[in-house]
């Protein structure tokens, strides 16, 4: 039952995305132009700057792609979903969908970064894995915050204000983790940091599932 609802919700989101291709390509174009702007400003920077720029780009892409998850739905449609699915399923479906979307966008921006800003990666596989963890962390936080912003009938700017303080430490952890994949330096406590980040993601999901029902009632 759980599986059925969850999957049909995710499928619904993907189908909507596919039918409204202009928003999907809009986000893709956003990724492309952001990386291009970064490239025009910085050229091919040194490794540490490359890392910082990459994660800042991720942050902006996350705000813009994940914002759609709740903000694109109208209040009437919310009421309809309210009558047919459990809030936890609905939130989980939105989160999974955002993670997938952001991961694809992250891969695109990684590709563009390699193309334009140079390729400093020494462990590409590891970096892709960290990018994936990054997509999970950023999208679960922003999905929940976009639910708050949507309920407050506000735009994506409110989501950014609410989210930036929370994701700042997460981005710092991500860029520290990614440093291992970029330059061959010895980093003590890397696994602890990775574990801490995953636990933090889990905490966000659990909090979201607990708090979302309150947000949903009118």
């Amino acid at each position: 039952m759980f599986q059925g609802h969850l999957f049909s919700l995710i499928r619904k989101d993907i189908i909507i995305e596919w039918r409204q291709k202009h928003t999907l390509f809009g986000v893709l174009l956003y990724v492309g132009s952001t990386v291009f702007v970064v490239y025009m400003m910085s050229g091919q920077p040194e490794v540490k700057i490359w890392n910082a720029l990459f994660w800042i780009t991720q942050l902006f892409v996350a705000v813009n792609s994940v914002a759609k998850s709740f903000l694109q739905e109208s209040a009437e449609r919310f009421r309809y979903y309210f009558t047919i699915v459990k809030p936890a399923h609905f939130l989980a479906a939105k989160m999974i969908y955002s993670v997938v979307l952001l991961f694809i966008m992250s891969l695109v921006s990684l590709l563009l970064f390699n193309l334009m800003l140079g390729n400093p990666l020494v462990q590409t596989g590891l970096f892709v894995i960290i990018t994936m963890v990054g997509s999970i962390s950023l999208s679960v936080v922003f999905t929940f915050l976009s639910a708050i912003a949507a309920r407050a009938q506000q735009n994506a700017a409110l989501m950014a204000i609410l989210g930036f303080p929370i994701v700042t430490p997460i981005l710092m952890m991500l860029s520290n983790l990614a440093a291992k994949a970029i330059s061959p330096v010895y980093q003590p406590g890397w696994w602890t940091l990775a574990l801490a980040l995953l636990l933090l993601d889990l905490l966000v999901v659990v909090l979201g599932v607990i708090l979302f029902p309150f947000l949903w009632q009118e």
């Binding site: 309920r151 303080p165 520290n176 406590g189 940091l193 933090l200």
Partner: protein
């Protein structure tokens, strides 16, 4: 009078903190010297801030459980006073750092963590400001309050591991715990923490009373002569 004994205690403790804090002997430390007395003023601000945010979190939870708007008023007033204490803590800390570390802002993890906390709670106040409907404002901001507080606590433990701290007692810097002389400072420090916290609590109760009266007046449709 029986119910306000703690206000008397608060005043006595704060007088003791200010007089004792400036006059009682303190251990002499390299670089810190007399600025070590800031311990009685700066550190209790953080403790008070965390406690007030904690109480605010508890009331936000209580609001979500009961739906009673009174608890939302409690929660937001605790947050506002907590924000005030965070600003005071930041100011006293930066003033101290200017003379001890040479500059008011030096990327210290505790400073960063506080800046993050402050941004979170400023965002909370902005979120509330944008909502006109009372019930909705209470519900949405309580949800954000719980979410932010629950995430802030682990972050406060993680952030200091990312960057080396300049604070006394961190990264090989002498703190007041690492010597035997500290008992003299504890004599003032613990009362100071109590005193400042009681002051914060007192301030909040006053604000809550005003808010409750305003709330009552706004929701009263009787026309009095």
């Amino acid at each position: 009078m029986r119910r306000s004994w703690w206000k008397v205690v608060c005043i006595i403790l704060l007088f003791y903190t200010i007089i004792g804090g400036f006059l009682l002997p303190v251990p002499v430390r390299f670089i810190l010297n007399e600025t070590i007395r800031n311990l009685y003023f700066h550190v209790p601000m953080w403790f008070t801030m965390i406690l007030l945010f904690g109480i605010s979190f508890a009331y936000a939870l209580k609001y979500l459980r009961t739906g009673n708007l009174k608890y939302d008023i409690y929660s937001v007033e605790f947050t506002k006073v907590g924000v005030f204490f965070s600003i005071m803590g930041m100011v006293t800390g930066m003033e101290w750092a200017k003379y001890t570390w040479g500059e008011p802002w030096s990327n210290d993890p505790k400073q960063l963590a506080t800046a993050v906390c402050m941004l979170m709670y400023f965002a909370y106040l902005i979120l509330r400001g944008g909502l006109k409907d009372e019930e909705k404002r209470a519900k949405i901001s309580s949800v954000y309050n719980v979410f932010a507080f629950a995430l802030m606590i682990p972050l406060l433990f993680i952030l200091p591991r990312m960057v080396d701290s300049l604070h006394p007692g961190n990264g090989g810097n002498p703190g007041f715990n690492s010597y035997d002389l500290d008992s003299r400072m504890r004599m003032v420090f613990y009362p100071a923490v109590m005193g400042w916290f009681l002051l914060g609590y007192w301030m909040t109760t006053l604000r809550i009373r005003v808010s409750l009266i305003n709330h009552e007046r706004d929701n009263n449709f009787e026309i009095d002569a």
